[in-house]
Symmetry: C2
Subunit: 198 residues, 2 copies
DNA sequence: ATATTTGCTAACCAAATGGTTAAACTAAAA
DNA sequence: TTTTAGTTTAACCATTTGGTTAGCAAATAT
């Protein structure tokens, strides 16, 4: 592993745990086992190092979102495969959603920068599909944005607020993981149950 | 307004916007229009000032949660009144959920401290009620923890990740507010639709 | 073989940051 | 009127923090 990779991985770990404001360049250097000057040698500044880490994190998740936005499946199958694949992925990267959400909240300017990229998921196609399926009588009438927001909320929230969820439900990390595994199919069931006709 | 109140309100504003790590004592003093030494005169340290603000925030929201945990209503009515009252309250305190969630994530020790207080919401009664209504055939079988998590996710998530939501749905703050207003009744409808028998 | 670039470190620096102090001001109690 | 207690400020302090510099050693190019 090159020094640059060591730095990047250390930065990932520290930024994800502490956020931009809470992270310290010295701590990242220690984690990487190298001299602090190397951080600036390879990445110029804390901001640029952070941006590299943040964009990498965001574009790790974005493709998973495109399952629901871009594929050719029926709405029900989109919901099923999105929840399943998203949760399967996030279980192995539990830190990502909270990190991304926190930094988007604290850095509103950043949001547009990220979402104007070509990789950024675009919901218009999905919205049209929902309207079509409503018109066909497959699902009950609902504002497409609300439906997408429901799917998203149920899928992402536990990973956005893991500490709150574990505290409120009074469960351990193990039970949390079990629940998340269950949710891979449960969320789709619940939503489809709520919107399907008959 | 006393100086202590000025400090507290300024601290609320700054901590909520920037988080503990991103907030600066000087900025809080400027916001309050007083000398920085006064912060330490009234609150001793940044940590203690933060703790006062955080606990205040948490115990503003906690009572709204007890609607669903502690009242005597039927499950459906609990869901209806929780989503309605929670969203109504949060619309006027949009910063609160993201702030609480962020600091609970960054400060895992803090979580237990907060949730061991007597005000802290306890879910056991609700879980039993759900199991009873399942046994009575009112609702379909579901893990009570999953049901609570669904209610919670749909209600809280948009306020936990407002920037991400606005970005992904490509909506303005105004449209966001409209959607949230709609959700006061929509969430309950969707969930009840998903779990009710017949 | 020599010059040059690249990777790396120790030491250093200026600014920022949380916190302290001593003195001054204010208002109420004695 | 004098004490006394609480409030406020300006100046100061020690530490932390992001960032820089000068130099060294190994690789690369000439």
């Amino acid at each position: 592993m090159t020094t640059e990779e060591k730095i990047f991985q250390a930065a990932q770990k520290i930024f994800e745990k502490k956020g931009y404001a809470g992270a310290r360049m010295q701590e990242i250097a220690n984690e990487a086992g190298i001299n602090k000057a190397m951080l600036h040698y390879f990445f110029r500044s804390k901001e640029q190092l952070f941006e590299a880490v943040f964009l990498n994190a965001f574009y790790k998740i974005a493709p998973k979102m495109n399952i629901i936005f871009m594929s050719e499946m029926s709405l029900f199958d989109k919901i099923r495969s999105f929840t399943d694949e998203y949760i399967s992925f996030i279980v192995h990267n539990q830190y990502l959603p909270a990190f991304i959400i926190q930094e988007m909240n604290n850095n509103p300017d950043f949001v547009q920068k990220v979402l104007q990229n070509e990789n950024a998921p675009k919901p218009t196609v999905l919205f049209k599909q929902i309207e079509t399926e409503i018109a066909q009588g497959i699902i009950k009438p609902i504002n497409p944005k609300q439906l997408l927001l429901n799917i998203f909320s149920m899928t992402v929230f536990p990973f956005a607020a893991p500490m709150l969820v574990k505290g409120l439900l009074q469960i351990s990390q193990e039970e949390f993981n079990t629940l998340m595994h269950e949710r891979k199919t449960l969320i789709a069931e619940q939503i489809i149950n709520a919107i399907k006709n008959e």
